[in-house]
Amino acid sequence: MSEKYDLIIVGSGPGGYVAAIRASQLGLNTAIVERDALGGVCLNWGCIPTKALLRTAEVYHQMQNASAYGLKADNVSFDLDAVVKRSRQIAGQLSGGVKHLMKKNKITVIEGEGRVVKGGAAPKVIVTGKDGKETTYEPKNVLLATGARARTIPQAGLEPDGKFIWTAKEAMVPDTMPKKLLVIGSGAIGIEFASFYNALGAEVTVVEMMDRILPVEDEEISAMALKSFQKQGMNIITGANVEGVKPDKDQITATIKGKDGKTTSESYDRIVLAIGIVGNVEGLGLEELGVKVDRTHVEVNGFGQTNIKGLHAIGDLTGPPWLAHKASHEGIVCVEKIAGKNPHAFETWNIPGCTYCHPQIASVGLTEAKAKEAGHKVKVGKFPFIGNGKAIALGEPEGLIKTVFDEKTGELLGAHMIGAEVTELIQGYVVARQGELTEAELMETVFPHPTLSEMMHESVLDAYGRVVHM
C-alpha cells in the first residue's frame, strides 16, 4: 500500500516546489509528482535559461561598445553552441538544486504523470510512471500546479514544425543562428527573444496585434521601448496580424496583414511564437471529476480551492498574471490554508512584472491610464536616467522612472520603469505598496548615493513638484 500523504502536489515548477517546501515546514507529509525535470518551465525552459542567454547578449553588446569605456576588444564574436550550453548548464544546476531542497525538506518526489480521480475527502492521485505502471495515492489534499505552455494556432500553421517555427522552448536551444527572424507577439517573452537575437546580429521583425508593444505596460514606457528597439535595428509592426505561413526549402514565408488592411509577404529563417500561453489542463482527469475550468484555466478562489473538495490549483494553471513569483505566492497561501493557518486570500494588486530586454522594463500596480480609468485623480512623477550620476557613469543614460500617486490619499498606485537594472529596483516600490507607505514616507526616506535607486526618490519628489536634479 502506498504511504498516506497529507498533500500531493502535481507539478514541480516554482508554484509546486515552493508550495511543497512550505507544506513541509508546516508539518504536512508531502509528495510532489513531476513528469519531467524538477523546477518546471521556470527553471528548465523559462525564466532562468533565458536570463542566461540575455546575459550573454548584454556582455556581447558591451564588448562591441568596449571603446566607449576606454577598452579595446577586437574581433568580438560568439560561439552559439557554447552560449546555449551555458544556458542549459545553469538550468541543470538549478534543477539539481531543487532536488536537493526536496530531499532536505523530506518531500517525496514521485516521477511520472499525475492525474486525479474521484476519492473520499479529496480526489485520489494516479501516477503513471515512466515504465507505464500506475500507482494510486489517497492523499488528504491535492494541489495541481501543472503550469502552462505556449499558445499555438494550428489552423493558421502557427505551431512548432520541427524546423522553422519555434516556441520559447525551441528558441532557447537554437540549432542555427537565424539571419532573419520573425517574432510574433510583443509581450515579455516575445520581446526578450527579439532582444537576444537582435543583439547577436539577427535581423529581427516583431509583429504585435495591439497598437503598441508590451501592451500591459504604461503607454509612455511602451513608447520609449519602441524607440529604443528601433534604434537597435529591430523592425516593429504594430496593429498587425500574421495571417498565415508557408514553409519553403530554406525559409518560411509569413503573410502579414497590416494596420491599413494591406497584406505583405516576407521570408524568414525562423519564426518565434509568443502569442500567449494556455494552461496545462489536459490529461489531469478534470472533466471526469467535474472541475470547473474556464477555457484552459482552472477556476479557484483566493485560497486556490477548486469547486471539488480537497482539490486545489495554483500558478499558470489558474490564470494570469503568468509569473513564477505569482505561482509561488499562491502556493504558499494555498498550503497555509490547508494546514489550518489563517493566511490572507491571494490578491493580484501588488505583483511586479519584469522584462529582461535591453533596456530592461519593470512595473507594479496601475498604469497612468488604468489609474484614471479607475476614477483616481492622479499625481505623476517622472525622472529620466540622464539626470542620474550613477546611470551616466554606467554608460546607461537611457531610461525613465515613472510613479503614479492618488492625489487625495498619497497612495502609490503604480510604478513603471525602463532602463538599466530596473528589474532589481522595482522591489523598493513593491515593499512600499505592501506596507501602504504614502508619498510622505517615500520622500522622507534616504536613498544611497550614488545609485540608480536615487531616481526612485526623485520620481516621487517630481510628482509633488520637489524634484532636485532636473
Binding site: 490572507h344 487625495k408 501602504e436 507607505l437 504614502t438 510622505a440
Partner: protein
C-alpha cells in the same frame, strides 16, 4: 530577545476569548508543542501550544480573564540564556487587559434602568485597540495610508480592528470600518454581549429582589445562543410545515442493518434521518439554500447540522457531505462529534458550515414542536417521538403503525411553501421506503 506569546485566533471570526486556564506558571520551561493554556471561545475550549522554546518569564493575563483580544500579548517567554526576571511586558504592563475584565464584570451586572436607545442596536461591541496600544493613541499600529484615509474619512482608528501582520490596521480595514455594516453580519458568530439584544434583558430590582435569585454569569456559548436565536426569530420570516411519517419500515430496516453490521457499529434512527434528509436535499436542491443580500446561495453539498444539547448550552456539529456518506460513516462520525461536543472539544470548522439542521426531541416523548432556524441555513426539521398510533389503512381498516410527526421550519425569503412541501414529500418517501436510500 524575549518572545511575546499572543492570544491566538481560533477561528476566522474570533475577536476575543476567555483565557480559561494556564497550564504553565512563571519560571516553567516550555518547548515547542507544549500545551501552555486553554482558551475558551464562544463555542469551544481549545488548547494553546507553545511555538518557541524557553522559560515563561511573565504571565500577563490572569487565568479566567474574559474578553482577551486576539493578538494581544498574554505572556512573555525568555529564550535560552536570557534572564527571565529581566523581562518586562511590552509597552508597560497588563493593566489594559485587566481593565477589560473589570469592564466585562460590570457589564454583566443587572442594571436597574433601561439602557439608552443608541446602545440597544444589535451591532456587536466595537473591539478596542490591542492592549499594547491602548494607553496612548499614538501607538495604534496602522499603515501610513490607513492613517491618512482614516483622518480624511473621520474614522477613529481606535475603533478599527487591524487585519495586517500583528494586528496592524491597513487600508482595507479602515474602508471596511467606514462602510460599516456590510462586513458585520459575518461577525454575528463572534462573541457578543447580552446587551446586543434589542430589548434590555435585566430584572427590575423593585420586582425581583436581587437576593431572591441566583445569577449565573453568561459564558461565551450562552451569549452566542441568546444572540443568534433572537436574531433568527426576529429577522427571519419563518413558517412551519408539519407531516406524519410512518416509521415501521425504517425500524425494521434498522434492525436488519444492525444485525448485519460488524461488532461496535450500531446505526440509530437519527443517523438514518440524517441520511434521508441529505438525500431529500439532493432531490430538492432548491431547498438546500441560504438567503443572502447578494442572492440565493444554493449549496452543493448537504451538510447536516445536528442539534446536540450539552451542559451549559447547545451546539450543532455538522455532518458534511452527508449525501455521499454511508450509514456506518454517519453513525461513527455522529458519535465522535457528539462526544467531543459534550467535552467542548469541537473545532470551529466542525460546528459551522451546515446547510440544514435537525433537532430531535423524540427521546423525551415530545409529539411535535417547531425549532428556530439556524441562520444562514434555510430550513430546520424538528423530529417528534415515534409512537404507535391508530392509522386508517388503504382498505379502510384501522391498524396500529409507528408514526412520528416532523415539523419543517423554513426561511420564507428563500424557500416557498410548495418547495418546503416537496422537500417533506421527498423526505417522507425516503423514510417510508428506506430501500430508496440505497439507490
Amino acid at each position: 530577545m524575549a518572545i511575546e506569546i499572543t492570544m491566538p485566533a481560533l477561528s476566522p471570526t474570533m475577536e476575543e476569548g476567555k483565557l480559561a486556564k494556564w497550564l504553565v506558571k512563571e519560571g516553567d520551561t516550555v518547548s515547542s508543542g507544549d500545551v501552555i493554556a486553554e482558551i475558551e471561545t464562544d463555542k469551544a475550549t481549545m488548547e494553546v501550544e507553545a511555538v518557541d522554546e524557553g522559560t515563561v518569564a511573565k504571565i500577563l493575563v490572569e487565568e479566567g480573564s474574559e474578553g482577551v483580544k486576539v493578538n494581544s500579548v498574554i505572556a512573555m517567554l525568555a529564550e535560552d540564556g536570557e534572564d527571565a526576571s529581566e523581562i518586562s511586558a511590552p509597552g508597560g504592563d497588563a493593566e489594559p487587559a485587566k481593565q477589560d475584565r473589570e469592564a466585562e464584570k460590570t457589564d454583566t451586572k443587572p442594571e436597574p434602568k433601561p439602557e439608552p436607545e443608541k446602545e440597544t442596536s444589535v451591532e456587536p461591541e466595537k473591539p478596542k485597540a490591542l492592549a499594547t496600544t491602548q494607553k496612548d493613541g499614538d501607538r495604534i499600529k496602522a499603515s501610513p495610508l490607513a492613517r491618512r484615509i482614516a483622518a480624511q474619512k473621520g474614522v477613529d482608528l481606535g475603533s478599527v480592528k487591524g487585519s495586517g501582520p500583528h494586528g496592524r490596521i491597513i487600508r482595507k480595514d479602515v474602508e471596511a470600518a467606514e462602510a460599516g455594516a456590510p462586513e458585520k453580519p459575518q461577525a454575528a458568530a463572534s462573541p457578543v454581549k447580552p446587551d446586543g439584544l434589542i430589548l434590555p434583558q435585566v430584572l427590575d430590582d423593585r420586582i425581583y429582589a436581587p437576593d431572591s435569585y441566583e445569577l449565573v454569569p453568561l459564558d461565551g456559548m450562552r451569549k452566542t445562543v441568546a444572540k443568534r436565536l433572537t436574531e433568527s426569530f426576529m429577522q427571519v420570516p419563518h413558517f412551519p410545515l408539519e407531516v406524519d411519517i410512518q416509521l415501521d419500515k425504517l425500524l425494521s430496516s434498522r434492525s436488519a442493518i444492525n444485525t448485519a453490521a460488524p461488532e461496535g457499529v450500531k446505526v440509530s434512527v437519527n443517523d438514518m434521518l440524517i441520511k434521508a434528509s441529505a438525500l431529500a436535499l439532493m432531490a430538492e436542491p432548491d431547498c438546500n439554500a441560504s438567503y443572502t443580500d447578494n442572492g440565493f446561495a444554493y449549496h452543493k453539498s448537504a451538510n447536516i447540522s445536528v442539534a446536540v444539547a450539552i451542559d451549559g448550552g447547545l451546539i450543532t456539529p455538522v455532518i458534511r457531505d452527508a449525501q455521499s456518506k454511508g450509514l456506518r460513516e454517519i453513525s461513527e462520525e455522529m458519535k465522535d462529534l457528539a462526544t467531543r461536543a459534550r467535552d467542548r472539544k469541537l473545532k470551529p470548522q466542525e460546528y459551522t458550515g451546515g446547510t440544514f439542521s435537525i433537532s430531535n426531541l423524540g427521546m423525551f416523548g415530545i409529539k411535535s414542536f417547531g425549532s428556530i432556524i439556524n441562520p444562514p441555513e434555510g430550513m430546520i426539521m424538528s423530529v417528534g417521538a415515534g409512537e404507535k398510533r391508530a392509522v386508517v389503512a388503504d382498505d379502510g381498516s384501522i391498524v396500529a403503525r409507528t408514526v412520528m410527526s416532523v415539523t419543517l421550519t423554513c426561511d420564507h425569503r428563500v424557500i416557498g411553501g410548495a418547495e418546503g412541501a416537496k422537500w417533506l414529500q421527498a423526505f417522507k418517501r425516503f423514510v417510508e421506503t428506506p430501500e430508496a436510500m440505497l439507490l
